[in-house]
Symmetry: C2
Subunit: 346 residues, 2 copies
DNA sequence: CTGTTAGCGCCTTCAT
DNA sequence: ATGAAGGCGCTAACAG
């Protein structure tokens, strides 16, 4: 609802009338083409705009210009710290450039995801930043091929093809982390994931894990991959942890969390089982959401810069829109940081 | 970018042409007015729409209908778990009703906030859900008076006036929490806030605190209110904690965190000072973000249902838009929950 | 049942 | 330096 004045909607027409000029002139004024306007009329328009508190209708502008200056952003769960900070990064860059952000939460559901994409398209978004479930990748690729800038953030394409991507060095960092665990004397590492499915981020971490298990630990890691359903309280993974620990009671074992959710689950489960991270079993994994230092003996985590992931994704979109930068497909891999704490020491 | 076909933008006109009918008929078809269409043409249009993968342009629809079916949501920090879950609640309700969500992050800055609101207005949003900084409340009230539905979420109006509001029972719960601390034998409680300013939520909690300090603890709480600047690592409040504790070394003292950020700061500071929550000093406060149970001896927290706050705010907006429900100004106060753990015991 | 016409608010040639 | 006219894609009278 734009400001009103005695019941009349304030449009460019109304401003023109009040200022005694044509709407063409007002339009020029609004778009800063001052060279074509006399100082006199320019001032007159300015004062009318000011007085009426006129706000141009972006909807009408968009219809005419065929550009909404709006980016659609689709995340799998806006409630998770990772996603929300990712969105903050996106928002920060877009806002700076006068772009608007439409947000949708797929809840990791392919149907919701598809609906959200359709809605974005109908809204005439100028670009798409996606935390894809993987199920609609063919469709997304096709949209990109039709000319719509699409960037994958914290996900890569789950099918053959090329698309702009920004993500963390998932595989490499998982390898590094595993190597670190090996150096610390652990002989078996359990990989705990609240589902893997088509989630390429989790798959990338899994692949780094499997590789290092084979090459460094010298065993087939598939035996120690534990998928479970998270209930947010550790109940989903407790039995799997127990099984892992008892199966390898003769070894030095550690638990690896594929992400922050799994990490919380593991810690909750250990607490219920009266097991101490560090002393009884090694614990480490992805995502430092602010409390890793506070849970004794300090939890070894891999911290990601999700703000940067979002910011870079937004920058790519804007580059694509302006035609700037290398037109070749971009794959940005951002570093993460292994933060060693007590839970993987001795 | 809507789907293309040999370079032609697919519009309602194009569909009409292909189907050999007028665009009016196609429009009727799209809007489900099937009574006015013969089964034959109806089928013809359906197949053309399907074949062309036609998507109506919501921009054009909005221009015509003067309704964008879009709600603007302004939060102070989308990166915080409180806000992001709030947004999830909003998104969930809006999505269900086919409304879109434009998001902006004010970073608690009044200028950013004002710009975001202006941008929302230009985008012709049908309503506004705001996590107000307080600095633009007069403006927001005026917008509402001009007919734009505006709902305050997790904030109330900082100036005289009435506006739809959804928030947690901040004052009452803070009182309850203080009374609980009194019963537990604490005699002094420090109120720690990462800034209060015009933030009405923090002010409400402060007022509950001051009231109970006077009525139950029997002292002027203003002496034990500590405002500081958060750096995310506790460094901002460590000296204030130290001062509080040493000043009242003869008393049984507890620290109260005004929100989750302050809570993390306090815990980090205590850790650095080698002080134990619970044993050395009582600790409790707002926001349970999943780890309260895991930090020994368990941190007593006040858990808010921020999803519900968002969902209720969105429902009010939709009610206002549809004219349903009580037209009187609504003040929804949602319950929160005091979760007692070891940090306030003995 | 279907089409014609006009117009939402704005921008953009093309004249003047 | 300024304006008139047309059109972006869609909906809604108003006619038939």
């Amino acid at each position: 609802m734009t400001a009103k004045h005695g019941g009349t909607k304030i449009t460019i027409n109304y401003v023109a009338e009040k200022a005694g000029v044509s709407k063409t002139t007002v339009s020029r004024f609004l778009n800063g083409r001052f060279e074509m306007i006399s100082a006199d009329t320019r001032e007159r328009i300015a004062s009318v705009v000011e007085e009426l508190d006129y706000r141009p209708n972006r909807i009408a502008q968009s219809l005419k210009s065929r550009s909404s200056r709006t980016i659609g952003c689709l995340v799998s769960d806006i409630g998770s710290p990772f996603s929300s900070i990712l969105v903050k990064g996106i928002s920060s860059v877009l806002n700076e450039q006068g772009y608007r952000l439409i947000l949708a939460d797929s809840e990791d559901n392919p149907v919701n995801e598809r609906n959200a994409i359709d809605s974005f398209l109908e809204s005439q978004v100028d670009g798409l930043i996606v935390n894809s479930t993987g199920a609609n990748d063919r469709f997304l690729l096709q949209l990109r091929d039709n000319g719509l800038p699409v960037v994958f953030a914290d996900r890569c394409l789950s099918i053959p093809g090329e698309i702009d991507t920004v993500e963390t060095n998932n595989t490499e960092m998982t390898c590094s982390c595993m190597q670190y665990l090996s150096r610390m004397g652990y002989t078996k590492v359990g990989f705990f994931a609240n589902g893997i499915g088509k989630n390429t981020t989790r798959m990338a971490r899994l692949s780094g894990y499997l590789k290092t298990m084979e090459e460094v630990f010298g065993y087939d890691g598939r035996d120690t991959v534990y998928e479970y359903v998270s209930h947010g309280d550790g109940s989903g993974c407790a039995d799997k942890i127990l099984k892992f620990i008892t199966t390898y009671s003769q070894e030095r074992v550690a638990l690896f969390a594929v992400n922050g959710v799994a990490m919380l689950d593991i810690l909750n489960a250990l607490q219920k089982m009266k097991l101490q991270a560090g002393a009884d079993v090694g614990v480490c994994g992805f995502d430092n959401w602010g409390w890793a230092d506070l849970i004794p003996p300090g939890i070894t985590t891999i911290a990601q810069d999700s703000f940067a992931v979002g910011a870079e994704a937004a920058k790519i979109i804007l580059d694509r829109l302006s035609g700037e930068g290398d037109p070749a497909c971009r794959k940005i891999v951002l570093p993460s940081k292994l933060e060693v704490r007590g839970s993987t020491v001795r």
